[in-house]
């Protein structure tokens, strides 16, 4: 291609939300490469202002149809931190089971419907379905299984409304748990086939060392339900000090804030979790990693999808174990008491499919939310996505424009960005704040 050219990919496809890639090449050098986030702000935090805290999980789960369980989880964690509530072990197990359903659903959707077409040389999942209908119907079965897990746990397939400070207002019955256990067992061949399929795919080579950040569960489980923030730099941060672990800043071309870590861009999500918590994976998930030829220390962002496949196995196996635990004792657990009913400030964190999700609420003495802050994983990854493009595209500037554009789109897609979620209000000044 010519030495001076511009490439504009308007509305990158097969990502959630609207983003544009802008690439300017001057005299054979990369002069500009931006991921423009053009989605309108959605003002999540303003929706919460003055609302009773009980409503927060039910409102925030509507932020995202894919990560609705994660938002409900981070939300109830923030409330429980503010009110001094410690839910019991079976409540925590039930919530974790719901997260397993969400992880499985999200990872299957991304791997099969959004990434697999590239790997099979198809423009989208529709021609892929024509050539490989067995692959797509398997994805539909697994996605449905994942949604059935959420339905069993919370009474709704998406956007749960059962999350309460200290407990859950819905508890599955023994027959419901037995039915789900049977469904899980029936789905095992589909999980195994998923690993076998993605183990055959070749991933583009693109290595860049980037700080990884993960909220590690305190009980030694694979990171999912939140805990101390661990950076690959070796630093750790209590949840309340999340602002020390990540620094938000504005860029002109994005309606979403960018985030940097200790010394540059930051990665969150499946690949960092795999790197920092490999030894916490279920043995079957570790076996899947071996089949996919993965080992901790991954630096290639295209391997996000491979790590998601490992985590799909992890979510599936954990769902089996957690269901068995609930079958052994299916009686509902009482809500834990509220220690600080006059409110306060609380930070809630969990690991949603795309990375570390943080909610912070300041709850007033009247039980209403005074101030809220939500930090979404995609926002944490955006700067890294751009830096990846700026690092990798100079090596292919001699390729045809279409090939460069396709590479850039695949790179953005690899992170599984949820652009609509990442775009929300920037600096919120609630009326009445001093």
């Amino acid at each position: 291609m010519g030495k001076t050219s511009s490439i504009a990919v308007h509305h990158v496809t097969r990502v959630e939300g609207h983003g544009n890639i802008v690439i300017d090449l001057r005299d054979g050098r990369l002069a500009r490469c931006d991921l423009e986030i053009v989605e309108s702000p959605r003002f999540f935090e303003v929706l919460l202002k003055d609302r009773p805290y009980e409503e927060a999980p039910r409102i925030t789960c509507r932020i995202c149809g894919i990560c609705s369980v994660g938002h409900a989880t981070a939300s109830v964690h923030a409330i429980e931190a503010a009110l001094g509530v410690k839910p019991g072990p079976r409540t925590r197990g039930l919530r974790r089971l719901n997260m397993c359903g969400e992880w499985l659903q999200s990872h299957i959707l991304h791997a099969y419907f959004l990434v697999a077409p590239d790997a099979f040389g198809a423009s989208s999942v529709i021609p892929l379905a024509g050539d490989h209908p067995d692959v797509v119907t398997r994805a539909l079965r697994l996605k449905r299984l994942a949604n059935e897990i959420c339905y069993t746990v919370s009474g709704r397939h998406v956007m749960p409304i059962s999350y309460q400070a200290g407990g859950m207002s819905y508890w599955p019955t023994l027959p419901e748990l037995e039915a789900m256990r049977a469904r899980l067992e029936a789905a095992r061949p589909d999980i195994d086939a998923t690993v076998d399929l993605f183990a055959t795919l070749a991933w583009p080579q693109a290595e860049r060392v980037v700080e990884c950040l993960v909220a590690m569960d305190e009980d030694g489980a694979y990171p999912m339900m939140g805990g101390t923030l661990h950076s690959s730099t070796g630093k750790t941060f209590p949840v309340r000090s999340y602002r020390d672990a990540m620094h938000e800043y504005l860029v002109e071309h994005s309606a979403s804030k960018h985030v940097k870590g200790q010394d540059g861009t930051l990665r969150v999500g499946a690949l960092p979790r795999f790197n920092l918590a490999y030894d916490r994976l279920h043995p079957r998930a570790q076996l899947a990693a071996q089949k996919l030829n993965l080992a901790p220390g991954l630096t290639n962002p295209f391997l996000y999808t491979a790590a998601q496949v490992v985590e799909a196995v992890q979510a599936f196996e954990e769902a089996v174990v957690l269901t068995d635990a609930l079958l052994a004792d299916p009686s509902p657990e009482d809500r834990a008491p509220i220690a600080h009913p006059r409110g306060g400030d609380g930070v809630g964190v969990c690991e949603v499919p795309r990375g570390t999700l943080i909610h912070e609420y300041d709850i007033g003495a009247d039980g209403r939310i005074i101030r809220a802050n939500c930090i979404i994983p995609t926002g944490q990854n955006l700067a890294s996505i751009e830096e990846d493009m700026r690092a990798f595209i100079p090596a292919i500037v001699e390729k045809p424009k279409a090939e460069i554009a396709h590479f850039a789109e695949m790179l953005v897609r690899a992170y599984d960005p949820c652009i609509s979620c990442s775009v929300h209000v920037l600096n919120v000044d609630f009326a009445g704040d001093e």
């Binding site: 496809t13 959004l114 423009s123 998406v158």
Partner: protein, 205 residues
């Protein structure tokens, strides 16, 4: 997390009337009609399908029918068809009627516009999903749309006055549609509303 493994249904090998082995779904969850609510209740009338599905669930559905909330994911329709179920899709739908009016349509109806956009995630449009269903040879003739003409689908909670005023009529119509589909009939005894210029599903779908 170390309880003994319990697999209550493994190895039962129950058989259907035609002699084939039942699937797990057929054996443990005999739902024949999935009532799918789709949309976003934070986007005005876009949430009409979700609210209708919730209203049906609260009132109680006949045996064999179950509500499935889809949020903004129309792939749910395919998942249910793949599982061998009929589908009644409840959604806000611009079909040229008055706000609050209801229409119905079988999802293999040729009046649906062609897929308008490449596959994305939340932005997946119903015509794209139907194209995928046809590619996979899923039985779209077993799926029906019950559409509510919206007045406003911008941000904000709650239905518009026009849709709210029509609510008792809409809930009654949805109930009747469920019963009729379970009886092997079309969702309504009236002809589906003609869609001048085609049908457009709401932004939530």
């Amino acid at each position: 997390m170390s309880a003994a493994c319990i697999v209550p249904y493994a190895g039962r090998a129950a058989l259907a009337a035609d002699g084939r082995r039942l699937t797990v779904d057929e054996e443990i969850d005999p739902v024949v009609l999935s009532v799918v609510g789709i949309g976003n209740v934070l986007a005005g009338d876009d949430g009409a399908g979700v609210e209708l599905a919730e209203a049906l669930e609260r009132a109680g559905l006949p045996p064999g029918a179950r509500v499935r909330q889809a949020g903004s994911d129309p792939l749910v329709v395919l998942e249910e068809l793949e599982a061998g179920r009929q589908v009644l899709l409840l959604d806000a739908c611009r079909f040229g009627g008055k706000p609050g009016a209801m229409t119905w349509m079988r999802l293999d109806d040729p009046r649906w516009p062609a897929a308008a956009s490449p596959l994305s995630l939340h932005g997946l449009d119903l015509p794209t999903v139907f194209q995928l269903a046809r590619t996979l040879h899923l039985p779209l003739e077993k799926a029906w749309l019950l559409g509510v003409q919206p007045a406003a689908t911008l941000g904000g909670r709650g239905l518009s006055p026009a849709v709210a005023n029509a609510w008792p009529h809409l809930v009654d119509g949805a109930h009747r549609a469920v019963r009729r589909l379970l009886d092997g009939l079309a969702p309504a005894d009236t002809a589906p509303a003609p869609a001048a210029g085609g049908v457009a599903a709401s932004p939530g779908a």
